[in-house]
């Protein structure tokens, strides 16, 4: 089962903690919003990044990040 990282764009204000925690998956775009490195809007989370992805979800101050399987 694949897990994907979903951004609720109506909540995200580019705080950036997710990019700091998941540099393997995310970069900042030129406006400071998280941009998936894979090119897919909802990046697939590899199993070895599961824990960090969960931490990123709880670290988001606007609860804009969600894991979807």
């Amino acid at each position: 089962m694949t897990t994907r990282l979903h951004v609720d764009w109506t909540r995200c204000d580019g705080h950036g903690s997710c990019v700091e925690l998941l540099p393997e998956l995310l970069v900042h775009d030129e406006w400071g919003f998280p941009l998936s490195r894979t090119g897919e809007p909802d990046a697939v989370v590899p199993r070895q990044l599961d824990d960090l992805a969960r931490r990123a979800v709880s670290a988001c101050p606007l609860q804009a990040l969600r894991l979807r399987s």
Binding site: W9, T10, W31, F33, L35
Partner: protein, 392 residues
């Protein structure tokens, strides 16, 4: 199942816009209705073209809310307004049939600013809502009916699970409701007697022009699915020689070049151009107009219609509009093209609604279809009109 037909079914391609004597609305249960709509092959007429039967079947057991969507936020669309003017009874019939089959907790008809109120309401909650380009999107409509701003919300909870009042919500376009009423009155075989095998029935077409006089009869007409574009132009009284291109699907749509008017308004026919029959919007661009000038204005309009919630849309669309504005000037910098490609990738799929993706579709189609004109601009030439803006 018995279908009570109180009058002869309308023959030919004029169905929704034919005269309807009214009479009692046939009542069917949910299972029969889903079965009938599956056999008829009715798809949503609001743009996305999703099978109506599957939308009904997706609702879980709880009492749902039914919403008729006549917001018509797209400026080039006029069909919902004409339908509510000409045949309001059919739209209400559709809601009545669903009310009987689904026993909803609420039934709402949502009207945008340009859509007339039906003369008779039959106990249906008719709401005139704040409209904008995105206010008619399903989640924005639900948000507004829940007392919030008319802006989209994150689509990961679909409205058919949790929508108005937290209930499963069925949102159907006004034309879909009217088509549904006709299917129930006259049957699936009758419905399929027009249109294509895999895309049957008729649809309403909003036919408009970039300059007055290009069409003898601009307005709304009804035609079978799969009608050739050339036939639509003929019915509107257009001289094909004066048509440079046709914008299909409105400001989120794509262009069909003037040499391809034999294209049929069907999914396979339009696919090579990245277009779909959508909500039946057909807009003619005259030979004299600079397509890049027109496209720059449309992109600026779309940037202004961002709900200003999602960062990539809020930042990316104005940037894209400004880049299109520069490209519209003869002598444009060739680096604008890779910049536009970069921006398209940067905003696609990165919003709660389809506004960024729709804007990208329009811009990408413009660059593809008018490639030769783009090259002219880069060489410093343009033999087309750039009308000065009256107001900004």
């Amino acid at each position: 199942m018995t279908v009570t037909s109180v009058s002869a079914p309308p023959m030919g391609e004029s169905r929704l816009l034919a005269d309807h004597p009214g009479g009692p609305v046939p009542q069917v249960d949910l299972r029969s209705l889903v079965d009938l709509l599956t056999r008829a092959g009715l798809t949503g007429r609001g743009g996305a073209g999703f099978p109506t039967a599957r939308k009904l079947a997706a609702l879980d057991g709880r009492r749902p809310v039914i919403v008729g969507n006549a917001m018509e936020g797209e400026p080039l669309s006029h069909k919902d307004a004409v339908l509510l003017q000409r045949s309001p009874g059919l739209v209400l019939d559709g809601l009545d049939i669903l009310r009987h089959a689904l026993r909803p907790s609420r039934t709402v008809l949502a009207l945008g600013a340009r859509v007339p109120t039906p003369p008779d309401r039959r106990g249906i909650e008719v709401r005139r809502l704040a409209d904008s380009f995105v206010a008619g999107q399903e989640t924005a409509l639900v948000n507004q009916l829940n007392g919030h701003d008319p802006v989209p919300t994150d689509p990961s909870t679909p409205v058919f699970r949790r929508g108005v009042d937290g209930r499963p919500t069925l949102v159907l376009n006004a034309e879909t409701l009217a088509q549904l009423a006709l299917v129930v009155r006259h049957g699936a075989t009758w419905f399929r007697s027009q249109g294509l095998e895999d895309d049957p029935g008729t649809f309403l077409i909003s036919l408009t022009e970039s300059v007055p006089g290009l069409l003898d009869h601009p307005g709304v007409l009804e035609a079978r699915r799969g009608v050739p574009l050339r036939e639509v132009l003929r019915r509107g009284g257009a001289d094909p020689g004066r048509v440079q291109a046709v914008l299909l699907g409105g400001y989120h749509g794509a262009w069909i070049p003037g040499h391809a008017l034999d294209t049929s308004l069907s999914r396979p026919g339009l696919a090579p151009y990245g277009a779909t029959p959508g909500a039946g919007i057909v807009h003619l661009l005259d030979q004299g107009a600079c397509p890049l000038d027109v496209a720059a204005r449309v992109t600026a309009y779309l940037a202004g219609q961002s709900a200003r919630q999602c960062g990539p849309c809020l930042n990316g669309l104005p940037h894209m509009a400004q880049t299109m504005r520069r490209l519209a000037r003869p002598g444009a910098d060739p680096r604008l093209l890779p910049e536009l490609e970069r921006l398209q990738v940067l905003v696609t799929g990165r919003g709660a609604c389809k506004h960024p993706d729709g804007t990208v579709r329009f811009v990408a189609s413009t660059l593809r279809v008018f490639d030769r004109h783009v090259q002219e601009h880069l060489r410093g030439h343009c033999d087309k009109d750039h009308p000065r803006r009256a107001a900004r």
